[in-house]
Amino acid sequence: MAIEVRIPTILRSYTGGAKVVEGGGDTLSELLSDLDSRHSGLRGRLVTEEGGLHRFVNVYVNDEDVRFLGALDTKLSDGDTVTILPAVAGGAFGFAAAAAMLGNRL
């Protein structure tokens, strides 16, 4: 089963510079594990140690944000396109509050 995955510039160091890679899996979590077997470290940039999606990564299946589809449990089908975009966010936010929101990323 082939699912096309679009990789943003910042994560292309894990894919040998490739902008688009292919993978398989019945859920987003399975797909990320499959990708990680060939692009080691990629999953760790998207999934926290607690096993959830990072707060500041946007992942879409076709035209939908996976936050509204079941996050890592989102079901995938052959021919789906997964797009990964790093969140564009920030602001004049207090460091302590930002650290709390970012969890282990700081």
Binding site: D65, A89, G90, G91, A92, A98, M101
Partner: protein, 164 residues
């Protein structure tokens, strides 16, 4: 040294957007052809956080705008947002979240309604490096002016780094 060169009309549009959304933070991009480093198309975006201290691109608008960039062979040359009560310098959260190492991160402060405060930065792996901003006035034909000394072109304003 890397410099952000940007048209006066685009800077004016960004500042107008930031003033319009004040006291909430405003955000958006300036697109340009891939690899050109030329910001040419201003795309104001919604701040999904609608906050005075935080901004975040709306997830669906972000996807739509980035698909459009792909279709037009463009990229986000500039990613901008405003700070509405503090200086135009990236906060810790700005630096740690920044995910586009090739973009110029432009910050606008609207804390003073009478003063124009813009600064530009590269943010790579959380490390912030300021760069000068060169605002050029494309409505003036540079070939019509030949006798100005270096650094005195009336069509250009240079914002040097403030050395912080």
């Amino acid at each position: 040294m890397v410099v952000l060169t940007i048209d006066r009309a685009i800077v004016d549009a960004i500042i107008a957007h930031a003033r319009r959304d004040h006291p909430d933070e405003a955000c958006g991009i300036v697109a340009g052809p891939v690899g050109s480093d030329k910001p040419s198309r201003h795309v104001p975006m919604q701040n999904a956080a609608r906050s005075m201290t935080f901004y975040e691109f709306d997830s669906m608008e972000y996807l739509k705008v980035w698909r459009e960039l792909d279709d037009r062979d463009e990229e986000a040359v500039v990613i901008y947002h405003s700070h509405t009560a503090t200086e135009a310098y990236p906060s810790r959260s700005d630096a740690s979240i920044a995910g586009w190492p090739d973009a110029h991160y432009l910050l606008v402060s609207t804390r003073d309604p009478a003063a124009e405060e813009i600064r530009s930065f590269r943010i790579v792996d959380g490390a912030v490096t300021e760069e000068p901003v060169r605002v050029v006035d494309a409505t003036v034909d540079p070939h019509a002016v030949q006798t100005y000394m270096f650094g005195q072109s009336p069509a250009t304003v240079d914002y040097e780094c403030s050395g912080r």
